[in-house]
């Protein structure tokens, strides 16, 4: 096995949980853009926050799933939410575009400000919020329609395109940004469900981009994908960072280390520790964070 395991490095390191994590903070993408902001001393010249959460609590019925989260999501950065299963990271993510509203019995308290505006304000239209905050789900979920229709749907319901030509332009631009144009341009009329898993997930990202959101939420976007497809998505996330603010929930600490600039560690509904990704992975302050990233639980 060691004889021919060399060419692909990231997949083989996936299983490894050695305490020496420093090498993992190197992004897969060999781009300077990725490492530049992360290299800055933590806490200093952080970009202004896109989203500010203060004392966010979420209840499912009478059970409290999040116990007062205070954090900031920096603009044009990738923020990774990590933590063991059931720690509330996905719940927090869904607070950011109010997807929790659709869950029976879910209740959110506290304040979440996006560009200084309370997204839980009564006067705010959820539809508008979700147009500004796109979402990519764990399992690729293209509509059972053509590739074109999948991407055109968002712009169409929001009236973003005045005519067909404009719509086609949006579709092409979104597919290009999602790195799917070359593979999909000749089969736009074919069903989106006919693509491979990784392509489907990029289609879902393209669909989210098509509405021109400001923030993109990703809920374990690579958990259903193979390592090669995962690498492509991670590459894509890094490129998207220039235009969008990205929040990603992930179970793979390697992924968090590779793609994010800021990491928040959740445990049992608490935000245990947050900070620059290199700091969290090289020098965690909290014992639980250290235990988790070194693979002692989770």
């Amino acid at each position: 096995m060691p004889a021919h395991a060399e060419p692909k490095q990231p997949p083989s390191s996936e299983i490894e949980t050695s305490p020496a994590m420093t090498d993992l903070t190197k992004p897969v993408v060999a781009g300077d853009a990725a490492s530049a902001p992360a290299a800055a001393p933590h806490g200093a010249n952080r970009p202004e926050p896109k989203v500010t959460a203060s004392d966010v609590k979420v209840f499912y019925g009478s059970a409290e799933a999040l116990h007062g989260i205070d954090t900031e999501i920096p603009a044009h950065q990738v923020t990774a939410l990590i933590g063991p299963s059931g720690c509330g990271k996905s719940t927090f993510l869904r607070c950011l575009n109010r997807m929790n509203d659709t869950i029976e019995g879910a209740r959110v308290t506290g304040r979440i400000l996006m560009d200084g505006e309370d997204i839980y304000d009564k006067s705010l239209d959820v539809v508008l919020l979700r147009a500004r905050v796109g979402m990519v789900f764990q399992k690729p979920n293209p509509f059972p329609k053509s590739i074109f229709e999948n991407i055109a749907y968002g712009p169409r319901i929001h009236g973003l395109a005045k005519n067909k030509a404009e719509l086609e332009e949006i579709v092409e631009r979104s597919l290009r940004r999602a790195g799917l144009w070359e593979e999909a341009k000749d089969r736009l009329k074919e069903p989106g469900t006919g693509l491979s898993g990784g392509q489907q997930q990029r289609l879902c990202i393209a669909r989210a981009i098509a509405v021109s959101p400001e923030v993109i939420l990703m809920d374990e976007p690579c958990s259903a994908l193979d390592p090669i497809a995962t690498a492509r998505i991670e590459e894509l996330i890094d490129e998207l960072r220039q235009n969008y603010t990205i929040v990603i929930v992930t179970h793979s600490m390697q992924q968090a280390a590779r793609v994010s600039q800021k990491t928040c560690f959740f445990h049992l509904g608490d935000l245990v520790e947050e900070g620059d990704t290199d700091m969290i992975f090289t020098n965690p302050r909290d014992k639980r964070t250290q235990d988790y990233i070194t693979g002692r639980f989770g």
Binding site: E104, A131, N141, P142, P144, I157, V211
Partner: protein
Amino acid sequence: MATGTADTTTGAARAASPTTRRVQASLARRRAAETRFRLLGLAAVIVGLGLVALLFATILTRGLPAFWQATLTLEVFVDPEIVDVPPAPERSAFANQAEYEEAFLGWQTALARTNWGRVLRNALLAYLPPEAADSGRAVEGLIASNERFELRALVQEDPGLIGETIVFQGLADANVDVWVKGNIDRSLPDDRLPLTSDQRAWIELLLEQGVLTQEFASALLFNVDSRSSPASAGLAGAFVGSLFMMLIVIVLSVPIGVAAAIYLEEFAPRNRFTDFIEVNINNLAAVPSIVFGLLGAAVFINWFRLPLSAPLVGGLVLTLMTLPTIIIATRSTLRAIPPSIRQAAIGLGASKVQTVAHHVLPLAIPGILTGAIIGVAQALGETAPLLLIGMSAFVAQIPTSPMDSSTALPVQIYLWQGNELRNFFEARTSAAIIVLLALLLSLNTLAIILRKRFEKRW
């Protein structure tokens, strides 16, 4: 490390450990249980299929002969001496419409007074021995009494036929049909037979000359029910009545049922009230259909004063009965749509209504159609509630609107089954069942085709 684990597992399989031995011991028992279960299932399927085959075989062997009926093909001379009517009035000869209509009515009455039976009898006598002319009634008895009116209608349509000889095809009397088909015990004494010995001899004569033949019984499909002339009794009235009811059921129950299901499944909050509604819908689906008939009689007829025996009332009652079926089928279809599709749409900023209309409903259409068609098919075969709102009345005309009196296919079957002319109507009943079954089968086929057509994978 990976190779190490593989080695240990194969090693464990090779050596017969105590666990392995115990598992092996239980294998025989498990296999026997499996075989038993499979055989039981197979037997159940065979018994079920056998019963269905028996049912179909009985109905087909009994009903199919009724689609061919003893028919007389006669050369009829429309004798101007018997048909002694003035020429049909012309519109141009009258000053105004009212006068013309009065004259036309008088002409029609003259036609109606004509002894058409004698015209037919004379035509028939041409094929019979001369002494038959002495027993005119018996000769006329060979022809279904309704054929007199058929001939009259023919002449009224074209008065030029008076004085001409035309080829007229008319049904033989019901008893003749039964006799020819051999459904009367020929060894019975004369006084217990419905036909006289003369009549029986004439039938043989007519058969020999090829005047009396078995023709396709279009009367069964295109005539209305008849008591005076059983041979011409048909299903047309009941068919149209059933059709009106189906239309009412489809128009009312599908939109209401689907809308209710969508609301309950996608929009309604979960609370005591919606739980209560849900329980009641499930209960409604289990209410015996005759209870719906009582409800229809009490509410639609006694309270709303809608007419008795009307397909409108029948349709409303059947709608009530079909609603729970459609609601339950639609809800279970909606529940089977993967939530990821809804999340995808909502995550893009689609409103709840857009999510349902653009994504959930298109995916649910095949299931909804299947549910709706099964519900409608069930309603089509329903008899009991219709009896209670007067749809078992004898109606001898095709209803022209849902407010007219009418009967329905299953009710017609019930009525024919109870007819006194047993040996004729037994086959007629089975034929009506075949028509109803054909209708139901085509509805179900439609359901399957539509489902296949709209089905999409996700």
